[in-house]
Structure formats: structure tokens, C-alpha cells
Symmetry: C2
Subunit: 196 residues, 2 copies
Amino acid sequence: MAKILASKNGTKKDAITQKAAGLFRKKGFASTSMRELAESIGVEASSLYNHIGSKNELLQTVCFKVANDFTVSLTEVEKKAVSTVTKLKEVIGFHIEMMLNNHDEVYVANHEWKQLREPFLSNFLLQRNSYEGRLVEIIKTGIKKKELKNIHPNIAVLTILSAVRSVEFWQRKKNNINSKELESNIIDHLINGLIK
Amino acid sequence: MAKILASKNGTKKDAITQKAAGLFRKKGFASTSMRELAESIGVEASSLYNHIGSKNELLQTVCFKVANDFTVSLTEVEKKAVSTVTKLKEVIGFHIEMMLNNHDEVYVANHEWKQLREPFLSNFLLQRNSYEGRLVEIIKTGIKKKELKNIHPNIAVLTILSAVRSVEFWQRKKNNINSKELESNIIDHLINGLIK
DNA sequence: GCATTAAACTAATAAGTGTTAGTTTTGCAA
DNA sequence: TTGCAAAACTAACACTTATTAGTTTAATGC
């Protein structure tokens, strides 16, 4: 009869969601059972339902929290009066730091969104398409301003968004590598491939 | 009582494996049931077991086929008497073409390997670590020969291996984009970020 | 036509799934 | 100390899971 201890400054629901994100990342959403999740907390499976609505709701919470964080950050960057290159650097930097600081959640949003149910699935994809579209616009502006080479903007965006996921692998290797070094290497690699 | 039609130049097991790869990609390994797989073929689930050993064996077949293809290709590239840059371009090109021509299989190997059971899981990771290590060596050579900037080789390798996965997204968008254009854009982006 | 074999079928098993109902315990406020 | 609500518990439901056993059908070689 252990109690679910609420994480600092968070509800018990938050504590469950956090544990769930960890398990979903390690084992995958479908391969994680509510009994496993409950056990990792030290409670019976049915007790979880005093705090959450359903297993799928946990996934929704994780995915949309992440999606929202990225959207908000991008909006901030768009507002700034800086060069395209600076904007891109900030976006890439934010992705890398999100993956370093919210590893489980970002990983789950990246890998398990397929398991979302409608209408959440469509909603999630819509939000991501919008995000990508706004990045494409930034790059188009950069080309127009001759800051960037005349590359295909859509390809560049997807290349960048894929490349930043390399941080996932560094987590896997329990890297003792310096975070800042990691970040600056990736940014340089991706930006130097774009600028004139 | 429909029969499993063997795909051209392949056994019935191959036909099942191919269908399985498609479903595993679309829905994930754990979320795909043998009944679904059977139905997609037009047969009862138990009938599959006349041809295959287990559900997990299907995943093993897919993952190790892909891993082997990459290993063989890399060995070929290593043998060639060409510059580091050319070698890297060929490796990147091979990744992109594999994803275009064997979309389901490569996707499954990239996303569902976690569901492999021991000892296959360890084996798979070993093979991938070895692959990454050999790419690191190529880059180290390129730095020594002053073909490449003095970047961190491990970071560069993971950035490249992540970036090539952007091809996944193009499949998702049923792109009408030219394959060659896609390939050359990605190669340029990644290589230009590395060379002096 | 007959024997053999490949490969389908039906039926069942044992385990695991998310989730609900109903009950008991716990901790706090009055 | 009592009353109440939060949150734990046990037990069960209704399915679904991969897989096996045993049987029947279809195709092949002689």
C-alpha cells in the first residue's frame, strides 16, 4: 500500500506520467503494461486509475507537452530580429537541449506518436506539419536574403530535424562528452552545409 | 483456404516476412498481431506456423538482413582506393538508396530492434556499434589527411547516420520529389559541413 | 489410382491485456 | 474523536495474445 509520491512541484498524475515516459522510451508504448508501470511506482495497476484516465491518455500528455514546447520556442525565435542563420542555430540548439533535458519525453514523442488514437493522431501530425512548414519559411527567407545556398528548403528542414536526433544515441552511450561540445559540433556541421 | 503465394523468386516464408515488415512499419511490432498478419495474407494465423518459427523470428530476419546489407556495403567501400570524401558520399548514398528501395525493412530495423530478444538484441547492437566504429575510422583518416575539418569524429558519424533517416519522412509524404535530387541535396548538406 | 507430403483448417490453451466495481485503508480537518 | 475524501486494495471481466495439437484438404510423383 505504498503511496504515489508526488514529484516536487507536481501532482501525482505528473509523477505517473514521468515514470510512464521512461518506460515507454525503454520498452515502447505497446510493450509497456499498466501492471509494469504500477510496479515501477510500487502500487497496484488499478490504483493508477485514481489519478489518470487511461493508458493512452498518458501518451497523449507526453506527446502534446513536447509538441507544445517546440511550438512555443519556435514562435519566440520567429519574433526575433536576427539573421536567418542565427534563427536556425537557435532552433537547432533548442532541439538538442530538449533532448538532453527531457530525454524520455522527446524520445517518446518522436517514436511512439503512431500509437496515438484519433483525433489525437491527426492533431499531432497537423501540429508537426505546421512546425516543419514554418521552418521551411525561415530557410526560404535565408535563401532570398542570400544568407543560404540555393538548396531545396524542404529537404534541408527534414535533414536538420533528423540530424538533431543523433542526441538520442549519445544518451544511449551514457556519454561523458561535453554537452556544449556536442551541441556546437552538430550546429556547425548542419549550418556549414547550408551557408554560402 | 487461400494459399500463401510465394513472391517471385522467393519462398513463402519470404512472402510472409515481407508482409510482416510492412505491418511492423505501419503499426509497430508489438501492435501487430499474428491474426492481422495472417488476415493481410488471406489465411488463418495458425497456418503461418507451417512456414515460420515465431513472430519474433520474423523481426530477427528483417533486422539482420538489413544489418548485413549495410555491413557488406561498407566493406566494399573500405576496400576502394578513393578519397575519404568519396567514401563518405558513397556510404551516405547507400543509406539513402536502401531507405528508398527497402523502406519497410530499413524502417523496422531502425525502429523496432528493441523488441528483439536475447541473444539477438545484443548481437544486433554489437553489429551496429562495429559499423559506427568503422565509420569513425574513415572520418579520422579524413581529418589526418586534411580532407576534413578537425571535427569530433563520433559526433559527425552519429549526425550523418541520423540525418540520412530524413528519407523516412519523404516516404511519408509520398513525395513526388526526384530521388536523385533528394540524394544529392542530403549528401551536399552533410559533406559541405565537414570539408575544409 | 495411390501414397506422400505440404499446407491449410478448427479448436484449444495458458498467459496477459486495459479497465471497472466494490471495498478498505489512510491522512487530514473539524 | 469523528467525518470525509483521497487513494489504496482485491477481484473480476471481457478480450486479445502467441502458439500448439490434431485433423482435413490439396497438390505432387510414381
